[in-house]
Symmetry: C2
Subunit: 197 residues, 2 copies
């Protein structure tokens, strides 16, 4: 009895199915979070929404914490894609200072949304190091495009630091600073750092 030849042209069909299922679950989870908020999302509700069994949801994410971590990663990835290749002024095509201002406002809003997800993912006070190095590298790139002189890595870190969730929550939750004032404040900071008058 000869062995069957290995299939070379149809690689891992189950893997593609799994990827499709994961994508469908992520889409459902993201939509659910947007509709009912982080607190309202249960594993049952997600299973129902995605039309799969609860067992599938648990196999995929392990726990509600795991689910929230996955939604967080998904959101971060989408945002990074928007910065890299989405429409201007956040994405390429706008002048670098306009991109910098768009980055500040967009990241501020994203981080405030992510704060709840991070907490629900069981990592209060944590932050994604990958996300941090992406944001810092992006700001560093824009500063070099703006021909700012000095220690651009430090200045980029300093511009990203006030956008940290821990700093934002202090301002929003404790001091009740309105978003408009935070956006205006960060834009002014960027202007001073870049030297735009």
């Amino acid at each position: 009895m000869s062995k069957p030849l290995p299939l070379l042209t149809s690689p891992a069909p189950e893997r593609r199915d799994a990827a499709r299922n994961r994508e469908a679950l992520m889409t459902a989870a993201t939509a659910l979070v947007e509709e009912v908020g982080v607190r309202g999302v249960t594993m049952d509700a997600l299973a129902c929404r995605a039309g799969v069994g609860k067992g599938t949801v648990f196999r995929r994410f392990g726990s509600r914490e795991g689910l929230m971590g996955a939604v967080l990663n998904h959101s971060e990835t989408e945002w990074q894609a928007a910065v890299m290749s989405g429409p201007p002024p956040l994405g390429p095509g706008a002048p670098p200072f306009e991109r910098l201002l768009a980055f500040g406002e967009s990241r501020m809003l994203l981080n405030l949304r992510h704060a709840e997800l991070i907490e629900a993912a069981g990592n209060p006070g944590a932050r994604s190091v990958g996300a941090l190095s992406f944001t810092t590298m992006h700001v560093r790139y824009l500063l070099s495009e703006l021909q700012v002189e000095g220690d651009l890595s430090y200045l980029a870190t300093a511009l990203v630091a006030p956008l940290e969730i821990i700093v934002l929550r202090e301002q929003v939750d404790r001091a009740h600073v309105p978003m408009g004032r935070l956006v205006a404040g960060w834009s002014d900071l960027a202007r001073r750092v870049v030297g735009v008058t």
Copy 2:
């Protein structure tokens, strides 16, 4: 039988003793941390150093975490006193921009020392809200002395944000940025924010 008159002239002698004991224990604990580092400090070593029983140390601090929290508070209080009334340029008497630069360097070093204490106190990622509002208010005061225009509260928060432990540890532990470069970077940031050329 008449009740004894309440003592009016000698208030709570035990309380004064307790305060003296606490102060002696704090002094011993602070010295011990400086000598052997946070990791090396045990409740036994502190009892031995302070010449008291181990039970006294546990009654006072509850646990090693409690001890580290107390050392942290003590250090923060001493630093705030140095800012308020210590020698210039950190304390009063120097021009405000010199004070601002001294503040940045001093706070950076303090926060890196405090990082270990905070971890040992069982609050990784935590920070003292009281310390935060003190530093922000101090920077805000110096900015107004420097006649900086704009949203001084926001600018003060933005100058304090890169001094946060979480940001510093990223730079020092992960990216191995030398202290001198961090100090120079923050000074340059302060110069840009204040508009000193």
